[in-house]
């Protein structure tokens, strides 16, 4: 069977689709707040003179300037010698984390893609966009530290395509470089404590980022009725009810509560939180991620 491009989940296919999705976006420039502390060169202007390629200002040549540094074209128009200073540019590193738990493999109807598919696609698209903008992208675990270049994207796609074990994956806060940025994509339906730990730890380290909750429409509508046994995707959890329709309101309350909690947490730690449904366009979620990373 030949996998159609839209549902191809092989590393190569995933990357191809991610490239497609990221193509319309301008190179994403993540804002580098703590540029002084990181010394890696990148394309983020620091709005001060330093090493870089873009023009920053002319200043009068001083005694320590070598003759090569003098901008002769500018100096020829005056009696004084001038030196051209460049803007100090630096790259940001962004760590991605995509929930690889079994619960992400859920799709309520065959027409919709599983949540994991959408989450990986978004993550990789973001990676493509960031790479194109000159950022360094890596994974928020120890498997793939942030790097630049196309090769990194291939490795990223490779690792993202692997399924984890257990219902819900947990991010590792220790893997984040200080003052970098992080993007967490999950359904956040599992235990909330690891996420809390992740966010508080990263806040301590000066890491900021975005939380994107990817949900299936059925998880938001709970369109079930009658006598039902609900099982988690791995079958580890199970809940039986005689009248599923009766649970709907309470379930939705709990879901809203979970979101509130995540949202409060994100606000307290300087992160961004948003929810995305697999029935919606992936581009809107990518735009939101773009905007979230751009924000100071």
């Amino acid at each position: 069977m030949i996998a159609s491009p839209a549902t191809d989940t092989t590393p190569l296919g995933l990357r191809g689709r991610a490239e497609d999705l990221a193509a319309p976006l301008p190179p994403l420039l993540a804002e580098a707040e703590q540029l002084a502390q990181t010394v890696l060169m990148g394309e983020h202007g620091r709005r001060r003179a330093g090493a870089g390629s873009n023009f920053w200002q002319y200043r009068a040549a001083q005694s320590h300037d070598t003759a090569r540094a003098i901008d002769w074209r500018r100096s020829g128009r005056a009696d004084q010698a001038f030196v051209q200073e460049k803007e100090w540019q630096i790259a940001q590193s962004v760590a991605l984390w995509v929930d690889d738990g079994a619960s992400m493999g859920f799709a309520s109807t065959p027409k919709l893609a599983p949540k994991s598919d959408r989450a990986r696609l978004l993550a990789l698209a973001l990676a493509v966009a960031l790479t194109r903008g000159g950022e360094r992208v890596g994974l928020a675990d120890h498997r793939l530290p942030p790097r630049r270049g196309r090769g990194q994207l291939s490795r990223l796609a490779q690792i993202l395509s692997q399924d984890g074990t257990g219902d819900h994956g947990t991010p590792d806060p220790k893997s984040l470089a200080p003052h970098s940025r992080a993007v967490l994509v999950s359904d956040f339906l599992g235990p909330v404590e690891p996420i809390e730990a992740m966010l508080t730890t990263s806040a301590d380290r000066g890491v900021r980022g975005a939380l994107l909750q990817v949900l299936d429409p059925a998880e938001e509508a709970f369109p079930y009725d009658g006598r039902t046994i609900f099982e988690s995707m791995s079958g580890a959890l199970r809940h039986e009810t005689l009248k599923a329709g009766d649970l709907r309101d309470r379930y939705l309350d709990r879901l809203a509560e979970r979101r509130d909690r995540l949202s409060m947490l994100a606000r307290a730690t300087g992160w961004q939180f948003s929810a995305h449904r697999t029935s919606e366009s992936a581009a809107s979620a990518l735009l939101w991620l773009y905007a979230a990373l751009e924000r100071r």
Binding site: S103, L189, P223, Y224, G226, S232, L242, D246
Partner: protein, 922 residues
Amino acid sequence: MWSLGPVGFLSPWLLAGLVLLPVLWLILRAVPPAPLRRRFPGVALLLGLDDRESQSDRTPWWLLLLRILAVAAAILGFAGPVLNPAERGAPGAGPLLILADGTWADARDWPVRVARIEALLGEAHRANRPAAVVTLTDPPEETRFDPADAVLTTLPGLTPHPWEPDAEALADWAATLEGRFETVWLSDGLARDSRAALLDALESHGAVRVVQTPRRILALRPPVLDGTDIALEAVRTPIGGAAQATVAAHGRDPAGIERQLASATLDFAPGEAVAQVALALPPELRNRVTRFEVEGARSAAAVALTDDALRRREVGLVESRETREAAELMSPLHYLRVALEPQAELISGDLPVLIPANPDVIVLADAGTLPPTEAEALQAWVESGGLLLRFAGPRLAASDAGREGDDPLMPVRLRAGGRSVGGTMSWGEPKTIAPFETDSPFFGLAIPGDVTVRAQIVAQPGPDLAARVIAQLSDGTPLVTRKPLGDGQVVLVHVTANAEWSSLPLSGLFVSMLERLAISARTNTDTATDLTGTSWQAVEIMDAEGRLTETDTRASVAGEALVAGDLGPDLPPGLYEGEAGRFARNVTRADTTLAPARWPARIAVEGLGRAAERPLGGLLLALAVALMAVDALASLAVGGRLRARTALLLLALMLPPVPTAQAQEPPMDAQAEAFAQAATESVVLGHILSGDAQVDEVAQQGLEGLGRALWQRTSVEPATPMAVDPETDELSFFPLLYWPITGTTPIPSGAAYDRLNAYLRGGGMIVFDTRDAGIAGLGTTTPEGRRLQTIARPLDVPPLSPVPEDHVLTRTFYLLQDFPGRHQGRAVWVEAAPEEEPTPGMPFRNLNDNVTPVVIGGNDWASAWAMNPVGMPLYPVGRGMAGERQREMATRFGVNLVMHVLTGNYKSDQVHVPALLERLGQ
């Protein structure tokens, strides 16, 4: 077979399965619907949520009931229930008498009746019973009971008759019956007075069973002439809801071929026994109708023959040459006119004008010698079958006509001068009229005592005078003489047609005599006395099915019997011919009513066909399957497997479609206003909806194409054409309405006609296009042509003529001489020009000071005009370059048409420009 009421069961032991139902109930009740396993990532959020109301884990009672019902229906269905199971009654004994009414009402399903009689005879044969078959319309002298198989062989000779049983004959026949026998009476279903007596007589001999099916019986009353319309009336039984029947008028076409000439629809209102319809036919067509027939009825009562009562004869009245300044009452034609007007079509004029019109009768009042050419023409006309009626008068008396020898146009030789009796200068009393001889056509007419004759012209005695006199005065002098001439005849009344010489024209006798002379049509109410003394010969008789057969071997019938007598073997319905014309004796009369036969309660009435056995098994099984389908749905719903939307969809599929409520229409005013704005923003051409969507589309495209041509070639820049419905839309905004006519174009209502007439009077133009290439000629041979006639009749249309060569339509923009559309060449009709001789030297007459209100043609112009939005023609016209030329001509005609409407006679007036300039120069 075991039966329960009207339902029997083929395998009743299966019903024992019903006992299992309570057990099934218990089992089903104990087994709840299985839970559904569902993968759901959000289950972590669900943990700890309890069911608030614990739903019973037992099957709900209604679902149980549904299933039990389904199983019960299945059990019942398999048990083979049958409605009205055929019973095998004990055969009767003794002779069997089978009666059939045998009237016209039986004719339609006579084969079914014969089949039933056959079945009865077959049963009798098996039971070894003697039998007899009798039709009541033709009771035998004596009734013999023969072996049933022998009677069976006589069945093919059994026919219904187009009359009803005669009560007396029935009583006589009943008296001849002897012994005990069983009677089966196949009734025709109509109430009749003779039934009760016969039933009593039959019951005295044994049991009586009646076989009768309720069915619709229609009878057409004789058509009556009402003004110029033919009023048709039909009665029916039983009186039910609304019903329709089509009446067709048959007659010979000009080629002598029998065909349907017209048709009308009778609408029975619910609860009404009588339906009426007025059929408007042109006189020529009306005179051709020989019979009206309800289509598909096949009985003598559904056929109404027509006779002279429907014919309106054309009578030519010859105006006297010199215009006398006499009082109107002195005019010799006044009394004739008054007497004939209600019943005949009158034409007046000179002989040279009248003879080519070929009327039935020409009346010459007080005319002397005729010029030789006229006399020859008149003689030829009489010899070919005309009736020349002459009246005497002073001028005839003074002339030499018929003096010298036998004048062919004078029945007798006349003596010079006249004769005056009872005047101031003469002896004797005014003469009265002698009773008519038996061989006179007037025989039987009552002579009023006050009819006197004061003057007359006198016939020369001769050998053949006595044979030619058909009415005479009390002294034996002739009053009316007649002689045959060729196929026609010449009649001379020896007094004047006015009251100058006698008081005859003042009396009713005058009218009756004219009627007897077959000059005027008979009045519709014939009474026996009117026809007393006449004798009539059947020329066509009708059988029970309404078929006509020609006959010339039947004994003649007296007039009074013909009118008043009951139909019977001696007087079958049909067409009778007498001296004064033709008389149709129909099965029905103007007061015929129908009622269903009622039988006493003690008589068993069976249907003609037995109530058919009707197996119900299939129905019940279908019900069981349907219940199971509902059960499947309901189970899904209970088990939570049914999504709400799917359920609604399925429910919608199962429910019968409900007509959606009509969308609220915007208020009429706003709509009319929007229409008016759209129609007046610019010049807008309109086409009237023809009732055929495709034709309307072509008309719309045609007017769009014409608009495009106008836009390109002229200063007229029309907007998009609009479709107009005269029923609802205001018409006065449109300079021109194009009206394609199809065979089914709806007839506008009264209000629409008012609107159309106002439009025509207000200077509008309607272009009628029958789209049939005009092959209809005068418009009687295509459905479109007939439709156009029907539609145009109430319209205020002036006299029409083909477009004359100098009509302004030929030069309003282009110079044209023919007006092709998709078809080429036939005449296009416009308002006729007033009579005006062309002025020598002027190319055109000074004509039509206004726009012709209608243009009638059949060239399908819209198809030739039609263009698509790019400007390419849409429909083929002709072939090759010639076709393109024809299309161009059609477009030019369209341009001319619009210019004619918009500029009126402007181009006509331009003819006068040189003269006006010349006058200005002076």
